[in-house]
């Protein structure tokens, strides 16, 4: 029984009367306690996927899906009340920029405590302090009464994690939680996420543009390109023997300590403009292996030789 099931997620933004697709054909499921990394370039729609799960996208976005189901509840048809019960409770979320994600005029303690009040536990300073301990904030009592501007970026992101964990979530969504932080702090935060996930047996959806950060951290890895999921599978397999030409190109362009070439191979060209997605495979214009069907048929995710890996590519059989 999976915790989260998504089939055929589609998100469109309205811009000046036009509907611009940001996410198409995204399907995956997440078992309790499992961790999934979602990686892609800027604009690949990965944050949109993360935010759509709690319907936190701006009003200009339209979210549709065959299924968007968390613990048997269809999220897209939830009334406001049950949706609020889900947010901050069974599903916690950590955002990208800890510098703007906390309210500047409320103390950090208050911002955690109101989650406790809302999700049934009641206000408890002791519980807030223990949460601060869990996210390894030094001086929990001091942080409790501090305002966000008095904390460093890493400390703020820890406080944000405490907010997300306050409702004892079964699923934690982390939307590029380290992008805004110093490189030295990034690893600490990711290790922390990993640790609390194991301690609390949470499922984790970790969105990042940095594939390197995901290796060894998530059970499975999904790759997004131009709003479409092009490959998903066990992290080690996807990174070790990538199936989709985009994943292959992406991994080749990562710097490695063992490599001695001075110039990294880069993928030629640019991702397509979301206002003008080509017919067929969105990666076709940049793909070294493209052939005739790529220009006409939309590839769908299909199992590979190793059935735990799915990729959307005509090289592995053209969609009928």
């Amino acid at each position: 029984m999976s915790l989260l099931t998504i089939e055929n997620l589609r998100v469109e933004y309205r811009r000046g009367g036009k509907r611009i697709p940001a996410v198409r054909n995204v399907s995956f499921s997440l078992a309790p306690g499992e961790s999934l990394g979602i990686a892609g370039e800027s604009g690949s729609g990965k944050s949109t996927v993360a935010l759509s799960l709690l319907r936190l996208l701006p009003e200009s976005a339209t979210v549709t899906a065959d299924t968007l189901c968390f613990e048997g509840q269809e999220i897209l048809s939830l009334a406001p009340g049950p949706l609020r019960a889900l947010r901050g409770g069974p599903v916690g979320i950590v955002f990208q920029d800890p510098f703007s994600a906390l309210n500047p005029v409320l103390t950090v303690g208050e911002q955690v405590e109101e989650v406790l009040e809302l999700h049934g536990e009641g206000r408890s300073r002791a519980r807030v302090l223990s949460l601060f301990g869990q996210v390894r904030l030094p001086d929990p009592a001091g942080v409790y009464g501090a305002y966000p501007h008095q904390l460093s970026g890493g400390q703020r992101q820890r406080a944000c994690l405490a907010i997300a964990m306050a409702g004892r979530p079964k699923l934690l969504i982390a939307d590029e939680p380290t992008t805004a932080l110093d490189v030295t702090v990034q690893r600490d935060i990711l290790n922390l996420l990993d640790d609390v996930r194991r301690e609390l047996k949470m499922a984790l959806l970790l969105v990042t543009h940095n594939v390197g950060l995901l290796s060894e951290r998530t059970d499975r890895l999904a790759i997004l390109y131009a709003g479409e999921m092009v490959e998903i599978g066990p992290t080690a397999t996807v990174l070790g023997t990538p199936s989709h030409p985009y994943t292959q190109g992406l991994l080749k362009s990562l710097p490695r300590l063992s490599h001695t070439e001075r110039r990294l191979p880069a993928l030629p060209g640019q991702p397509p403009d979301p206002r003008d997605i080509p017919v067929g495979c969105p990666f076709r214009p940049r793909c070294p292996s493209a052939f005739a069907p790529c220009a006409t048929e939309d590839p769908v995710l299909r199992p590979m030789k190793n059935p735990s890996v799915h990729a959307a590519c005509h090289l592995y059989g053209v969609t009928p």
């Binding site: 936190l56 406001p80 947010r87 906390l102 309210n103 500047p104 005029v105 409320l106 109101e114 305002y147």
Partner: protein, 327 residues
């Protein structure tokens, strides 16, 4: 914070002196001269004699800077001098008028805040709906309609045609003979029109300000965080968003203090309202120099004090200012 306060305080003092200096110079530039109101129009033979005595009494034959210096010196003993017109102490005259102006303006300012904040919130939360557009139209009208015209029209409607409300002043002629309750009711009746009109004109700006401030704040990441916690929309707006959106309103409050204390010159004159504005207006028309200086100085002092307090209040509610540099 301490250094900041000291700097603000000394700056305030400089501004205060500047204001009195300017007032004194500008008064001297006014046509008719300072003695005009007292003696020039008098046809009696003694007028010339009287004029000479008057000039000597007020150092009017000395250069303006000597006069200003002596005025400052007297001011340091809180001596504002006496009115040219009726020889009563300036402070006494101001003491009669200031409470009336404060009453009128605190009432309308209170109403403005009471109405404008909810209206602004409504317009922001229901952005681009009928409500928002209705508020926009209302704001547009409120900004555009000249106060004096609106006042005259409503006076004609309620005072002349319908006869419901008194036209001017703060008390009826026989107010002294009334019982305490009747006296209060009479005063309330006199206040309705001035308070409503000055409220209406104040509403426009503030409600627009609150709307735009809230719309700006609602776009912030921390509002998304608040929603992601599962907070009800009412708490998101009132607890998380409004607090941030209202911070600049404190500055607006500080800026509205001159009206609060000085009173609208035109406004109070139209209503023959016995306030600071009309006292100042009448004094200017009569070239009653000590009263003009007194009204100007006290209004300036209270305004600057108010702005200073607004700064303090801002620091008190915004932790980013209050606690900057600590920790």
């Amino acid at each position: 914070m301490g250094a900041y306060l000291l700097r603000r305080l000394s700056l305030t003092l400089v501004v205060l002196v500047g204001i009195t200096l300017l007032t004194s110079v500008v008064m001297r530039l006014a046509p008719g001269g300072l003695t005009g109101g007292v003696t020039d129009l008098s046809a009696r033979a003694s007028a010339h004699e009287q004029r000479k005595k008057f000039i000597a009494l007020y150092d009017l034959d000395k250069p303006w800077y000597v006069q200003y210096g002596r005025w400052l010196k007297r001011l340091s003993r809180l001596d504002f001098g006496r009115s040219f017109k009726d020889d009563r102490p300036v402070l006494e005259k101001i003491g009669e008028r200031l409470p009336n102006t404060l009453l009128l303006n605190f009432l309308s300012l209170g109403l403005v805040f009471l109405v404008a904040i909810p209206v602004g919130v409504l317009a922001a939360v229901k952005q681009n709906t009928f409500w928002d557009r209705a508020v926009s139209v209302f704001v547009f009208v409120g900004f555009s309609v000249p106060t004096f015209w609106l006042a005259l029209m409503l006076m004609i409607l309620f005072g002349v045609n319908l006869g419901w409300l008194p036209l001017s002043g703060l008390h009826s002629l026989n107010a002294d003979e009334m019982s305490f309750a009747a006296y209060g009711a009479d005063m309330g009746k006199h206040l309705i029109l001035p308070v409503l009109i000055s409220t209406f004109t104040g509403l426009a700006g503030l409600s627009r300000f609150v709307r735009n401030g809230l719309l700006e704040v609602i776009r912030q990441d921390y509002i998304r965080t608040a929603r992601a916690k599962g907070l009800p929309e009412s708490r998101v707006i009132f607890h998380h968003a409004l607090r941030n959106a209202l911070l600049p309103v404190i500055t607006i409050l500080g800026l509205s203090l001159p009206d609060l204390i000085g009173g609208g010159f035109i406004f109070e004159t139209i209503f023959a309202f016995p306030g600071m504005g009309r006292l100042g207006f009448d004094a200017i028309m009569a070239r009653d120099f000590p009263v003009v200086m007194g009204v100007g100085t006290i209004a300036a002092f209270l305004t600057l004090a108010g702005n200073f307090l607004a700064d303090l209040a801002y620091a008190a509610v915004d932790p980013r200012i209050r606690l900057s540099g600590k920790r």
